[in-house]
Amino acid sequence: MSQIKYIAGKEPHANETRVIFKNVDRESWDPSIETYLQDGGYDQQKKAFQMEPGEITAEVKTAGLRGRGGAGFPAGLKWSFLPPNNDKPVYLICNADESEPGTFKDRYIIHQDPHQLIEGMAISCFAVGANLAYIYIREEFPEGAQILETAIAEAHRKGFLGKDILGTGFELEIYVHRGAGAYICGEETGLIESLEGKRPYPRIKPPYFPAAMGLYLCPTIVNNVETLCHVKHIIGMGGENWSKTGTPNNTGTRILCVSGDVEKPGYFEVQVGKVTLGELINDMCGGLKAGRKLKAVIPGGSSAKVLRADETFKLGKDDDAKEISIWDIPMDFDTLAACGSMAGSGGVIIMDDSRSMSWVINNLNNFYAHESCGQCTPCREGSLWMKKITDRVVAGKAAPSDIDQLDAVARNIDGRTICAFGEAASWPTESFVAKFRDELIADTNPELEDAFVNAEALTAAANLK
């Protein structure tokens, strides 16, 4: 990899291991298929198409690839959920609806290296037996959608897509499907409903597990952009070899997107678990802004529970137990889960001591209230309620008891909704109330407590008619 030159000022950090992002910011690189082919592009597809589909799935399983979309579910296992004696068509959908606040990795893959994704998808389709695949790309990436369509057309011309690919008789069409600005379309069943032309209301599971009853009620695999790209590299390196990067059960590389109060926010492809949060912030992002101290970190996209800077975390069991500070958290799935948060989609949001936590949680609650699809009761009513409470907290019109109510509303949503949006919307509030309770209460006005008890006085105070 040493021969690859990157654009000046955008060179990867020494801690990085660039696999997926190998070509991002590469000097004299463009998204055309010619460039891609000169760099050994589509070799892995050729290799994979010589294999049995089952072998590919086995390799992905061996590699231990965990989904990069947010839940971290093993991709190989997901594929193996396809019904064994299936006579319906199988579909593969690439989830490029990157909409988790704090995450911005897929846009670079799509914009700069679209063929990597197409190759990864072609291999995955071959593995699961899908002849029709869609890339569900968010509407806010208009350029990305065009780049992908151009790339698909190129791949078609070169015979990597279409009928009888590489002489194997395998047929595959990939189409780009643009969303229209809804976070819920990142949820796989919501995405499927959207792709079916309906309101993207997530489906109930059971019975609508996509692997059995997905798009058009046929078996469907939905994977994230980054996950599908990894499939190409797993074939290239072999599952066993691939799994040697990263740490056990948290294999491979993944892209961490850092935003917020650091000197140099950006994206970093690192081996999972090999970089700690401290290294990420201080070494790779140039540390916090001058004179500022770390206050809080959201480690895996806005839905992940917040970590407080002065927290300590107990890891391991019994004798192996050790206590670590926030700086020492390795950025992998299992450790972050053990710390009470999650690796999610890899979006790390850093907040320094200049930030008001009331303002931060209000901003997030605004997002979730806006994005709730409104299908099921808890999230529909609860997300707006939480927003309204934090609106008042920020405006200084809340009483201390409102903070308890805020937490109660979040707990009323958590675990009781159709899809994971319920958790996504309630976890930030739950964690901010748990960890920054004093600060939130400090933003309230105890004198208002009486006013709320006396609704008549409140109405008068609010000048309501």
Binding site: A455, E456, L458, T459, L464
Partner: protein, 176 residues
Amino acid sequence: MAIVVDRPKLKWWEHLYLPALAKGLRITLGHFFKMLRGNTKVTMQYPEEKWDANLPDHYRGAPALVTDEQERERCVACQLCEFICPPRAITIKPEEIPSDDKWAKVEKRPKVFDIDMIRCIYCGFCEEVCPEQAIYLRKDYAITGTSREEMVHDKEKLYEIGGVRVGLVNKWNALK
């Protein structure tokens, strides 16, 4: 068993009745002078005068409908009072408020609201059950009439007795 009461046997001066007359006049004159000094109570001129001022706050007189400070009929014809009324004295016929009415957003009001005061037992259940704070027992206690029809208080009469009652009704509290 009958009780026999013996008549008192009167003395001769008692037969004259003059001492009794004098005794009576003495009392009357005593009251007369007390009255001149302002030391006596005078009989209330009922029915021109009434007891209202002396009635306790919880007194349960005739039920009546009230309007709010904006002259809105508080009653929305939910018919709960009709339901709860033990002697079934209340009859309500609801109607939709026309869309051009100032209070069209309330949607519903009583078209007919009758309370049969011959039946009413002044129990106060109607006041207690009313979710809109629209019906109250006022202090009127002498409900009279010369026919059964007159004893049925219609909507107009009920508002006449009831008058205006200020204060918040939950329904119109934007926070409820």
